[in-house]
Symmetry: C2
Subunit: 144 residues, 2 copies
């Protein structure tokens, strides 16, 4: 069986202050901002910092009643989810369903950067909220 | 300034039952176990699952009084830390100190797979415990 994910697309970190977090990461790790976007329907403003073909995604909630706002209030700053890059998110959803995984999204929805995404429930992934990402523009990546 | 990390080396997930977590991840995502190791001085048994040149690291504590055992008791299963691959961990420690980051390890110590590692305090990384990894055997990875 070929692995479903081709790469770690991003690690998402919930932060209360996007500008402060960008300043901290770019200064400390010397990484650069590859993309910024405000995604109203997900209630977040995001910045993607590139790390060797993957990203660190910094997420600031647009308000306290958003999913990331509630996460921050409950847990504080920290990792919100991990995203895997897949060639076809609809096919990945079908494969995961066939393998008995519990899905948050049964059909793909729109992510940032023109991606198609779907979330997998933490109960099926060792307590980790997992996102599947089909990206038309992801950087090339070649595992050894 | 060149980015300090060359890649996301791994995302580490604390789990109570390593065999169950391996079965879940290999079945659901179709990934394979690349390495297993018991690291007495860190109090963990680990499995590395390869994803496109990075790893998902599953960590089972060797006992309740270990750092990962305490994390599990407090937070439950979930992401324990994120690790970045660096070419020279001693140089990375020096660079982070110069940039005012708070370090857990001021000198490199031994990780699994013959790696040299150091941890950076969550206070300097948006609430995320960060590990720096210098690996002699990491798979090749080429960001686009």
């Amino acid at each position: 069986m070929e692995p479903l994910p081709r790469a770690i697309d991003h690690v998402a970190i919930a932060v209360p202050d996007l500008e402060a977090a960008i300043a901290e990461y770019t200064k400390t790790l010397g990484v650069r901002v590859a993309h910024r976007e405000r995604i109203e329907e997900q209630g977040v403003s995001e910045a993607l910092l590139e790390v060797g073909g993957s990203y660190v995604q910094l997420l600031q909630p647009l308000g306290p009643d958003t999913p990331v706002g509630k996460f921050l209030a409950k847990r504080g700053s920290g990792i919100h989810h991990v995203a895997y890059r897949v060639p076809d998110v609809a096919a990945a959803i079908a494969a995961l369903k066939a393998r008995g995984a519990r899905l948050v999204d049964e059909t793909p929805r729109r992510g940032s950067r023109g991606t198609k995404i779907a979330f997998v429930h933490p109960a099926s992934m060792g307590g980790v909220l997992v996102e599947l990402v089909e990206s038309p523009t992801a950087p090339a990546k070649h595992g050894g």
